[in-house]
């Protein structure tokens, strides 16, 4: 079975675990990487490591956030090896990591848009029409995958609605069965007691579609015409 050198096989195996990469694509990518310069593979390896080290989830909305404290610490290590002892400027790790949207004082902090994944935040940001905050669930209710409400950031959403001065929650899960069900769960079972205004994206998005693939105009219109659920 081991037709290739061990390191190549390990790489093909690792690549094959990525979403959307089948064994054939994994092979193609591995052999491509075998041919390119070491500088290029190093850049890819660095990018992967930096992402894991420097990027984390926002402690408030679970969007992706850059962990600046960690970044500075890492630089400190590098500085030390270079013999530079001036490290007094390192800020103390202030505890909470917030994303660029949560820290932007121009955003309307009374509206929360609930999405499934960080990539949906990007899709909505691209429309340029939304000025509120977000809350990323990091998934949807999906019993077939063993995912229930407790595996998602739903409790955290309830805490935010209780603690922050929120006037409207816009449910922007994908318009498919699991997305709709998750929104229905949040509206009827989680937010109902708070008496907060809950809205849903207006129709216009293709049923069974993916927010990520909706074009900006359609998504923008759907956001404008949102419907009140409670």
């Amino acid at each position: 079975m081991s037709a290739y050198a061990k390191p190549v096989e390990v790489l093909i195996d690792e690549l094959g675990r990525l979403p959307g990469v089948g064994p054939k694509s994994a092979q193609r990518i591995a052999f491509h990487l075998l041919k390119v310069d070491a500088v290029d593979t190093q850049r890819l390896a660095d990018a992967l490591q930096d992402m894991k080290r420097l990027v984390t989830f926002c402690d408030r909305c679970f969007n992706i956030a850059e962990d600046t404290a960690k970044g500075v610490k890492d630089r400190e290590v590098i500085d030390l090896t270079l013999g530079d002892s001036d490290t007094s400027l390192v800020p103390g790790s202030a505890g909470k990591v917030l994303c660029s949207i949560c820290t932007d004082s121009n955003r309307d902090s009374k509206v929360i848009c609930v999405v499934e994944e960080p990539k949906d935040v990007q899709a909505i940001e691209r429309t340029g029409g939304y000025k509120g905050l977000y809350h990323v669930l990091l998934g949807v209710i999906n019993p077939l995958d063993g995912v229930g409400p407790e595996q998602l950031k739903i409790k955290e959403l309830a805490h935010r609605v209780a603690a922050e001065d929120i006037q409207e929650v816009v449910l922007c899960t994908n318009p498919n069965l699991e997305g709709e069900t998750t929104s229905a769960f949040i509206a009827s079972k989680v937010l109902a007691p708070f008496g907060v205004k809950v809205t849903r994206l207006a129709s216009g998005l293709p049923v069974g579609g993916d927010l990520e693939y909706a074009d900006e105009i359609t998504l923008g219109k759907a956001l404008e015409g949102r419907l009140t659920m409670s």
Binding site: I141, L144, G148, L177, E178, T181, F185, S188, K189
Partner: protein
């Protein structure tokens, strides 16, 4: 749509094969095991993206190869149509006129087929799932836009059953709250599907009686009755059965438990009709569906008769063929077909890879 040319590549027993079809009656004659049914299966796949004999997709790909390709060049309303399907163990894809289709429902309707196969007898003899599928497939063929409704019901049921398997005998509040949401969704979609099935049954009653009486030259009356498996509103029935569902870890109420009762002169056909009557009833169900599609869509679906004529005597065979709207037809047979039927095209050459596949 009329198919002029069908090409198969690594499909079942065929490594590379091409068949030219006539507009009218095509007859495929050859010994058993030569791959006749595979031709029917390939055409069916282009219409429904599944095997008409319920075979898993992987079985359609020739052994030792990665993917199968079915290509049909045809004509619809004077314009050339090219349908290509690439079936692979991963994701299969379909192209119509070289455009990749994003969703199943975009294909449904491009090519309509009606298949008659010896297995059709199961429609009458076996349990209710085949009869529900008969209604659902017909509803979809009549209106491909219903595809999301049916797939949503199917998936909601799977999700709900999966949740039932995960929750304990004494479910906590969170689990019950999640179940509530699935119940509501299941009931909404379930009621929609039942309404669709009921209206189809009403449309089919006169057609099936006409078909049965012509086929058998009797005046026996065929009855169709949709039997709902619960009382009142589905949402309430599901909520009422919650304890039972949790104990059995399966959804006990809903359209997936319904029955289409078929009677002959008031007697239940499944247990009380003779084998010959059951066969005629099964054929009549198919003829009625074919007629309804013809009425609604304005052109007869491509008719595929797989090894069916051998089950009928010559009179009934001719009776069947003469009572179907004239369109493109493909018949497979191990023996010569009745003399009274004149084919426009006869296929006897098979470029088979092996004879391992049944057909």
């Amino acid at each position: 749509m009329i198919i002029r040319q069908l090409s198969l590549h690594n499909f079942r027993s065929y490594s590379d094969a091409q068949f030219y079809l006539a507009e009218g009656l095509n007859v495929v004659v050859g010994p058993n095991g030569i791959g006749k049914t595979n031709i029917v299966e390939a055409i069916c796949y282009l219409s429904r993206l599944k095997s008409f004999r319920g075979a898993p997709t992987a079985n359609l790909i020739a052994k030792g190869t990665q993917s199968a390709v079915i290509r049909a060049i045809g004509e619809r309303q004077g314009r050339e149509v090219l349908i290509e399907a690439e079936i692979s163990s991963g994701r299969s894809k379909v192209l119509v006129n070289k455009q990749v289709l994003k969703r199943t429902k975009d294909l449904l309707g491009a090519l309509q087929v009606t298949v008659f196969a010896p297995d059709d007898l199961m429609l009458i003899k076996e349990g209710p799932s085949g009869r529900r599928e008969y209604l659902d497939d017909l509803a979809l063929a009549l209106d491909p836009n219903l595809e999301p409704t049916f797939s949503s019901l199917d998936r909601t049921l799977k999700q709900r059953n999966s949740l039932l398997k995960q929750i304990s005998y004494k479910p906590d509040e969170g689990e019950l709250a999640t179940l509530d949401v699935w119940d509501k969704r299941f009931a909404e979609t379930g009621e929609k599907v039942v309404a669709l099935r009921r209206s189809l049954v009403a449309d089919l009653v006169p057609l099936i009686n006409q078909a049965y009486q012509r086929l058998t030259t009797t005046d026996q009356v065929v009855g169709l009755a949709y039997q709902q498996s619960w009382d009142g509103e589905l949402f309430e029935a599901v909520q009422k059965a919650r304890e039972l569902d949790i104990r059995r870890k399966v959804t006990t109420q809903g359209p997936h438990r319904d029955e289409l009762l078929i009677t002959l002169n008031g007697f239940e056909s499944r247990n009380e009709a003779s084998q010959g009557e059951q066969r005629s009833l099964a054929l009549s169900l198919k003829v009625a569906a074919h007629q309804l599609l013809f009425q609604r869509l304005g052109e007869p679906p491509l008719l595929l008769l797989d090894d069916v004529l051998s089950e009928l005597d010559d009179d009934r065979a001719v009776g069947l063929l003469n009572n179907l709207p004239k369109g493109q037809t493909l018949i497979t047979s191990a023996t010569e077909i009745p003399n009274l039927v004149v084919p426009d095209n006869v296929i006897t050459e098979f470029d088979s890879l092996s004879e391992a596949d049944h057909g």
